[in-house]
């Protein structure tokens, strides 16, 4: 998921790739409120995931952000047991 996240941030949010490393905080990686908004919209477009901006921006690091998206993707793809 990290590689896909980084690609979305570069191609959709227009961020430079160099600061986007797993251990970087979102701030250090350049992931500002605009990037988070674009990412939220892109996740819905590309992966069908609805994760709002508050949840995304609460991730402490880029790796945590990738984990959050991966977990949500796993949950979303599970068949419903309801």
């Amino acid at each position: 998921m990290y590689a896909q996240l980084k690609e979305l941030l570069i191609t959709r949010a227009g961020l430079p790739g160099e600061p986007i490393v797993p251990e970087a905080s979102l701030d250090r990686a350049g992931i500002d409120s605009m990037a988070v908004t674009v990412l939220s919209m892109a996740l819905e477009d590309v992966l069908g995931l609805v994760i709002d901006e508050d949840e995304l921006s609460a991730a402490p690091t880029v790796a945590d952000l990738a984990d959050l998206i991966a977990r949500r993707a796993d949950t979303t793809s599970l068949p419903s047991t309801a």
């Binding site: 430079p16 160099e18 350049g30 500002d32 605009m34 674009v38 919209m41």
Partner: protein
Amino acid sequence: METMEADERLVPLTLGGMTYACRLLMPRHRSGTEPLVLIGGALQDMYSWPRLERRLTTHTDLVLMDLPGTGSAGDLAASAGFEVLADSVLHALDRLAMDRVNVLGASYGAPIAYRLAQSHPDRVARLLLAGATPRVGPRLTAVVRQGLALVGTTDSHPADEPARRDYARNVVDMLVNGATRNEVAQGPAVARLLERQLMRTSQSAALRYAACHERLLDTDLYPLGGIDGVPALVFTGEHDCASSPEENRAVADTIAGCAFALIRDADHMAHLEREAEYADLVTRFLHDRPVHDLPYCTDPRTSPRRQR
């Protein structure tokens, strides 16, 4: 490389009982031009430009300001004019021992930057105005009045959610042209970001925004007399409906020899929609490089009249 390698310094300021602040970002290599003072819009503070910070600090020292009535600064009565704010900028330059600077005034910041260049042309090496209009037009005036009515006074309760949502959408439709949103780079994302921010505005912040907005109404924003002897650039997005291309042109026409540019596929929020191009345009002008015939700008001589 467009990552920021700059040292940061915060400077508290006071002038005539007003408290405010500025933020200096200094690249770790010589920039070859005067520092750039960035004076932003009424909804912005000195931390509102992270993307431009990253791009511009590879080329120039940058000074961002929380002028009275914005961000971390103290309140400023709506009755205080733009002259007070221009004086605040001048005082900051004195405190920073900056004899000459480049000044970029965006939207609400444009009348402040203009006054500084007009009254102290010796202090302004280059003037850049983004999203400028001689007067606030009737549609934006109506939206501002809607906001003023909603926010009420210090003792007022916040308006209910549907009323705030309606206002937020009207503001967004002015800043991110609703008629061309899908033609604009990142238009839907900028609109969503702004609407979220507006819906989360506290009552105290809303009162401060209201004071700033009220300052814009029913007045000529640019004093008579024009500007001569200061190299200047006026620019905005080609789809700007808060300050149309024609209105920006009218402001440019008051400045002798002023350059003019319209960024393609952008509107009043060009700094978010086309940040790389916005930064390139600014950087070119700061370094006395040509700003005409750029691939990301329309030819302003052939730009059609846009929807207001």
